[in-house]
């Protein structure tokens, strides 16, 4: 009698969510990506299906104020121009999609007017064909104006707009529903809050296939264990059949670049640039192993490392 692999079967499945619209679908994106779709724990293909690999979204920030010096050195002058930055993500760095973070809308910093940002997004959509998500600056009033304009200018492109939060989701949800975009639903490291956020959006009239969850990714060394377990619990909750938890998860691993010990010059801890690269790659890898469907990353080298690791895990070359 041979030893049989102990299998786990679940009743639930992560919903498939489409990101981006191609010409046939009314947009101008180069691809329609699909996140989610799995009916088991990540990468355990002997017992479950995993129809889609975790997607890699590269973040593009519209102000260098938010880009650490170390990254500016690694990525070069393109960080000064979001469109050039995104082009590089598309042509050289192998991103599946881009997340444009409109941090310059911040009313306490650059406070760029919504019209200008609308122009930036328009230029971005014309210059770069990757599927895209667009995030506001986190100030509710300003984001309401900015995201509405973004939604209109990108009509038909099926962007994902963010971040919808418990106290500030209506304007983003309305903007997405008006033009067929999706929404990224943010919650603060807690399975119940994540569920609550989804319920709010569903009650508001959004369809589940238009929602992805951002359950807050804490980076390696700064609370990774909370995120890792939270993602695992969300995934198990979804698989056990709770429909309100079955939205795919998008985890922002660029947070790794906020960790001082990942960046500091300290020869005891090895080469600083590569330490940062490992820091981000391991943060993203842990998110994927726990159950993330999309990871947001920054450093081209981390992305190479991450991709090789998840491809190997999925049984590819």
């Amino acid at each position: 009698m041979g030893f049989e692999l102990p299998k786990e079967k679940f009743g639930g499945r992560i919903k498939e969510v489409a990101i981006g619209a191609t010409k046939d679908q009314g947009g101008t994106r180069s691809a329609r990506l699909v996140a989610g779709g799995s009916n088991g724990l990540p990468f355990l293909k002997f017992e479950s299906e995993m129809p889609h690999m975790p997607l890699v979204a590269m973040d593009v920030v519209d102000t260098v104020r938010m880009v650490p010096d170390r990254l500016q050195e690694s990525m070069g002058a393109v960080v000064n121009d979001p469109v050039e930055w995104a082009k590089k993500c598309e042509s050289e760095w192998g991103a599946d999609m881009c997340v444009l973070k409109l941090q310059s809308a911040n009313p306490e910093e650059e406070n760029r007017p919504a019209e200008e940002l609308e122009g930036l997004v328009d230029k971005m959509l014309k210059g770069v064909a990757l599927p895209m998500a667009v995030y506001g600056c986190g100030f509710e009033e300003k984001d309401a104006k900015v995201i509405e304009k973004v939604s209109n200018v990108a009509k038909g492109e099926r962007l994902f707009l963010g971040l919808a939060e418990e106290k500030a989701f209506k304007s983003i949800a309305a903007a997405s529903m008006a033009n067929g975009h999706g929404v990224v639903a943010f919650s603060n490291l807690d399975i119940n809050l994540a569920k609550q956020m989804n319920i709010l959006l569903l009650d508001f009239g959004m369809k589940p296939e238009n929602i992805m969850m951002d359950p807050l990714m804490a980076p390696l060394g700064m609370g990774l264990e909370y995120s890792y377990s939270n993602i695992e619990r969300l995934r198990l909750g979804a698989l056990s059949g709770d429909p309100v938890l079955q939205m795919p998860m998008i985890c922002d691993c660029s947070c790794a670049w906020n960790v001082p010990e990942a960046l500091e010059d300290n020869p005891e801890r090895g080469n600083a640039e590569m330490r940062g690269v490992y820091w981000e790659a391991m943060t993203a890898f842990s998110a994927a192993v726990a159950g993330a469907d999309v990871v947001i990353m920054r450093h081209p080298k981390s992305i190479v490392m991450f991709r090789e690791a998840v491809n190997a895990l999925a049984g590819g070359a």
Binding site: G221, M222, Y228, M282, S286, A290, A312, L313
Partner: protein, 441 residues
């Protein structure tokens, strides 16, 4: 653990009372709760004793190698997911010195492993062991290197599939309890005999889990009690599936032949570095590697520290006055709690402002600002005491302290208690850079 009824069935049912409990059932209930030892029953049969010890044993055996304070502990895990309780014994990391590198190369590797320790959030993180491997080098050099390694502090793994040579290496360090790597189909009996004779932990290796379970069972029956399992980890996919299957079989199905710690031996490529991270997350009790660049080891150790943190016990930083940058007595002072996550976030946000500052960390037993405030662990009194204890007024002449916006309610009372000017900071620490710039400007 078996239930009281399962235990009761195996007891003599005499109700003699000699165990100091009135009935065998009462005794069984105490046993199930681990309040008494089976030895208190004078009449229990040897068969029942074996059965009870077996069923009461942890699902994954604890195996140690090395001696003294730095002895490496593996196994004794009870969970598939850390959120269900915790993971107990952090993945043992080991650096491999191969005899193809020559005696000097091996010595350098041994020193390198010993040098890799880092202090992080009050804990010492280190590469925990050294492995000496015989491949294409000279057997004399190999044995000499084992001796060099064994004379140092870190536990040693002897990697050699030739039982005669392995035996010589063991003789060079038998009192240091090295781990023996490894028994395969071709050397099984001799390696088992060597491990048994010297009471050493033995790595058992087989290409499939079925063969691995059989080999481990055979080694156990031959008298080796400390077994470490090496499943195939040729690809990352194999590694995840096999490690997961072993953990499930041991923990969920109480399948004894696989109820042992696991090991993964990797090369030194970038892909292997990520495999090491996989091992930390997904059930490798030990990971041995050919090379460990520091820029990889440090994040890997941080990940191990994160994953093996007990979810019920938050990592804390020591209470006290911390410098951010090079503050002077004119620099701003602010306080936060000693929950490590809170501390790191606040610290990073202060650093972003590039304004040097003092950060007073108040002991809240590892709770975050709001939780500690709600639980009465962050009060005007406790903050005032910390200001006193850590001599805040001696280090800063501003006589002003910035408090987290979430607890602005305590500003009046805190001002009264300390006589300091209280400035209410932002609710989220991400607002600190702006405040700091306005204060210094």
């Amino acid at each position: 653990m078996p239930t009281a009824m399962e235990i009761y069935k195996l007891l003599p049912k005499k109700n003699c009372g000699e165990c100091k409990f009135p009935t065998c059932l009462a005794f069984a209930m105490q046993l199930a709760n681990q309040k008494v030892a089976l030895e208190a029953c004078p009449y229990v049969s040897p068969e029942a004793k074996v059965a009870l010890e077996e069923s009461g044993a942890p699902p994954i055996k604890l195996v140690t190698f090395g001696v003294g304070e730095l002895a490496a502990k593996m196994g004794d895990e009870t969970q598939l997911f850390r959120h269900d309780k915790t993971f107990y014994n952090p993945t043992i990391l080991g650096l491999i010195a191969d005899d193809a590198e020559g005696i000097d190369g091996m010595k350098a590797k041994v020193d390198e492993a010993h040098a890799m320790s880092f202090e992080r959030v009050g804990q010492m993180l280190r590469v925990d062991s050294v492995a000496v491997r015989h491949s294409s080098g000279s057997p004399e050099d190999f044995v000499a290197a084992v001796k060099v390694a064994a004379d140092k502090e870190l536990p040693v793994t002897i990697m050699c599939e030739d039982p005669a040579l392995a035996s010589k290496a063991v003789d060079a360090c038998a009192d240091k309890k090295p781990m023996l790597y490894r028994a395969t189909e071709s050397n099984f009996d001799a390696m088992v005999a060597l491990a048994k004779g010297k009471s050493l932990p033995l790595v058992v290796s087989a290409p499939s889990l079925d063969e691995l379970a059989q080999a481990a069972d055979k080694a156990k029956k031959a008298g080796v009690s400390d077994i470490v399992l090496e499943p195939s980890i040729q690809t990352s996919a194999d590694m995840l599936v096999n490690m997961t299957a072993i953990r499930r079989a041991a923990v969920k199905n109480k399948f004894r032949p696989l109820g042992f710690p696991t090991i993964a031996v990797l090369d030194g490529t970038a892909a292997d570095h990520m495999k090491a991270a996989l091992g930390v997350m997904k059930y490798s009790s030990a990971v041995l590697m050919d090379s460990m660049p520091r820029e990889m080891v440090y994040p890997l150790l941080a990940m191990r520290q994160n994953i093996f943190t007990d979810p019920q016990v938050p990592i804390q930083v020591k209470a006290g006055m911390y410098k951010v940058g090079e503050p002077t007595d004119k620099s701003p002072v602010m306080f936060t709690t000693n929950f490590s996550l809170t501390y790191f976030t606040v610290r990073a946000d202060i650093e972003k402002s590039k304004v040097p500052a003092w950060l007073l960390v108040v002991d809240t037993e590892g709770q975050s600002v709001m939780t500690a405030f709600a639980a009465g662990k962050l009060t005007p009194e406790s903050v005032a005491k910390a200001i006193e204890d850590f001599k805040v007024k001696e280090m800063s002449s501003r006589n002003e302290i910035i408090l987290p916006g979430m607890v602005s309610r305590m500003s009046g009372k805190l001002g009264e208690l300390t006589g300091m000017k209280i400035t209410v900071g932002p609710r989220e620490s991400s607002g600190l850079p702006k405040l700091m710039k306005s204060l210094s400007g």
